[in-house]
């Protein structure tokens, strides 16, 4: 079935095309003057202006310390196992005799490397970590002049990660355990 579309009959002035031309020039001219003199360009000039990411943004994963400044990671290697692009490589202490920072942790990694060129910011490492030792931070721009520079080691990851506020489950466990040493237990 044919549908007839009602089209507005144009009068002579409109068919001359000139009003539309002038209207178009006015719109584009307005944009030109606004951008040129009003500084209303929508472009963000990147290296000078940086994007502020929203909270909850999943950027690069970094290691965090607890508020005593101790390494939280216990070298369980769950993140290394779960990492889809295999960006994480952990060297456990083994027989090196490296003592963990915290006295109630069994061990901490000898070396912890994240290859930022491989990382896909999926957040599985943060999800899987039983110690809440690795978090996806707000960083989204990594700059290096070669590939080796973009493999971040434990020291760099810890300094970038900073201290993590929030839950410190082993501290409470430790206090509980200490409390249980005295008999009778008062909880």
């Amino acid at each position: 079935m044919a549908i007839t579309v009602n089209r507005k009959k144009l009068n002579f002035w409109e068919r001359l095309y000139l009003p539309a031309v002038v209207g178009g020039l006015k719109v584009t001219g307005r944009h030109l003057f606004r951008t040129l003199f009003g500084g209303k360009a929508v472009t963000m000039e990147y290296p000078e202006q940086k994007w502020t990411v929203p909270t909850g943004y999943r950027g690069a994963p970094y290691l965090v310390k607890d508020q005593d400044g101790d390494t939280k990671c216990v070298s369980c290697q769950l993140c290394e196992f779960v990492c889809p692009p295999k960006a994480i490589r952990i060297t456990p202490p083994g027989t090196s005799g490296l003592k963990p920072d915290r006295d109630n942790a069994e061990k901490m990694p000898l070396e912890f490397e994240i290859n930022m060129l491989r990382c896909i910011y999926c957040g599985f490492c943060q999800e899987v970590c039983p110690e809440e030792a690795i978090f996806l931070k707000q960083d989204w721009s990594h700059v290096g002049t070669n590939r080796a520079e973009l493999i971040y080691n434990k020291e760099k990851l810890l300094s970038l990660g900073g201290a993590a506020p929030g839950i410190q489950k082993w501290k409470h466990k430790l206090e509980e355990a200490r409390a249980q040493e005295n008999f009778p237990v008062k909880v």
Binding site: V21, G24, L25, V27, T28, G29, H31, L32, R34, T35, L36, K40, A41, V42, T43, E45
Partner: protein
């Protein structure tokens, strides 16, 4: 042949060529900047040679304006690989870029860009048949594009070339017809004499506005500018006639296009807007001193710049026409209108004489 004439002509040709090429380069920059501003962007604002950052205020300002961008663009064009695809018709493929540029440059020869400087008339060739020469040369401009489209031996350039040939030949007729009333009114074909006529009678736009509108629109079509850029038509033909070109051979086509724009802007200024004259400050008489001669040239360039901005502004406002609409406009609207314009002008002049 006297040596004085030859030497001064060579100097004038060299200077005009240099100024024109500089203007071509900076038209490209202006195009990019104006496009950016219209689209709410800052445009090219980074390129600068290393020493510029030590110039206090001017350096950053010029950099923000993209002042050094043409240098980088030119350098890039020269350094790119000049690739000749297999299967192209080599002679035409090499010839086409030159053929695209040369007519545009040749048109400038008859345009008076100033009055008198140091006893020399500021026009390269003061021809008695200036306008006829211009139209003769402009019609050669189509060959560059058609040859490029034909030589590339590939479908998109071929379509671009076909479109360009039909379009440019159609609009040449309307353009030529639109100028005839101007010639009738001024009574001369020499462009310098047309300017002299305008100093005593007022600008010809007042006498022949219809001619001007037809000439302006035809100039857009002749120089393959949006809304009539069918030969390029990025969305339809992936770039049209210049698809197979690279490096400096590619850069020659935009150069030819912008030179043609400058030439047609110069023609419009000369024919309708009084050339190098201004009706006040005594700028409408041939210069007696060197500064006045320079002022005339600057007036001419300023008028040309206004038209260049219009060319660029319109490009970023209009969508492209449909091909049949273009032909319709050229043959069924402009040609009858131009003929009627000639007839009416002739009758009015006959009655008044």
């Amino acid at each position: 042949m006297d040596w004085n004439f030859i030497i001064f002509s060579v100097v004038k040709v060299a200077v005009v060529f240099g100024v024109l090429m500089t203007m071509v380069a900076y038209s490209v920059m202006a195009e990019r900047k104006i496009a950016a501003w219209i689209q709410d962007r800052p445009g090219p604002n980074r390129v600068a040679p290393p020493f510029v950052k030590y110039i206090p205020v001017l350096g950053p300002m010029l950099t923000r304006l993209g002042f050094f961008q043409p240098l980088a663009d030119g350098l890039k064009s020269f350094l790119k690989e000049d690739f000749t695809p297999g299967g192209v018709k080599k002679i035409y493929f090499w010839l086409a870029p030159a053929v695209a540029v040369v007519p545009a440059l040749m048109t400038v020869a008859v345009i008076p860009f100033g009055s008198v400087m140091g006893g020399q008339q500021m026009v390269i060739a003061n021809l008695n048949v200036g306008i006829l020469y211009t139209f003769g040369i402009v019609s050669l401009g189509v060959y560059g594009i058609v040859l490029a489209g034909y030589a590339a031996n590939s479908k998109y350039p071929f379509l671009g070339g076909i479109r360009a040939s039909a379009q440019m030949i159609s609009y040449e007729i309307a353009m030529g017809m639109s100028v005839i009333p101007v010639l009738l009114i001024a009574g001369d074909l020499n462009l310098s004499d047309i300017i002299t006529w305008q100093t005593s009678h007022g600008w010809l736009i007042l006498y022949a506005p219809v001619s001007f509108v037809i000439f302006l629109v035809s100039a857009f079509a002749e120089t393959n500018r949006t809304p009539f850029d069918f030969a390029e038509a990025e969305q339809e033909l992936a770039g049209g006639y210049n698809v197979e070109y690279s490096s400096m051979k590619f850069a020659m086509f935009p150069m030819g296009e912008y030179a043609a724009m400058l030439a047609s802007a110069g023609m419009m200024v000369t024919l309708f807007f009084g050339g190098w004259t201004l009706p006040f400050w005594g700028l409408d008489q041939p210069a007696q001193s060197l500064p006045m001669g320079l002022a005339h040239i600057l007036v001419f360039l300023a008028k040309m710049l206004v038209f260049m901005v219009v060319f660029i502004w319109v490009r970023w406002m209009f969508p492209r026409f449909r091909y049949d609409q273009l032909m319709d406009l050229g043959w069924r609207r402009f040609l009858p209108l131009a003929l009627a314009n000639i007839l009416i002008t002739a009758i009015v002049l006959w009655i008044r004489s």
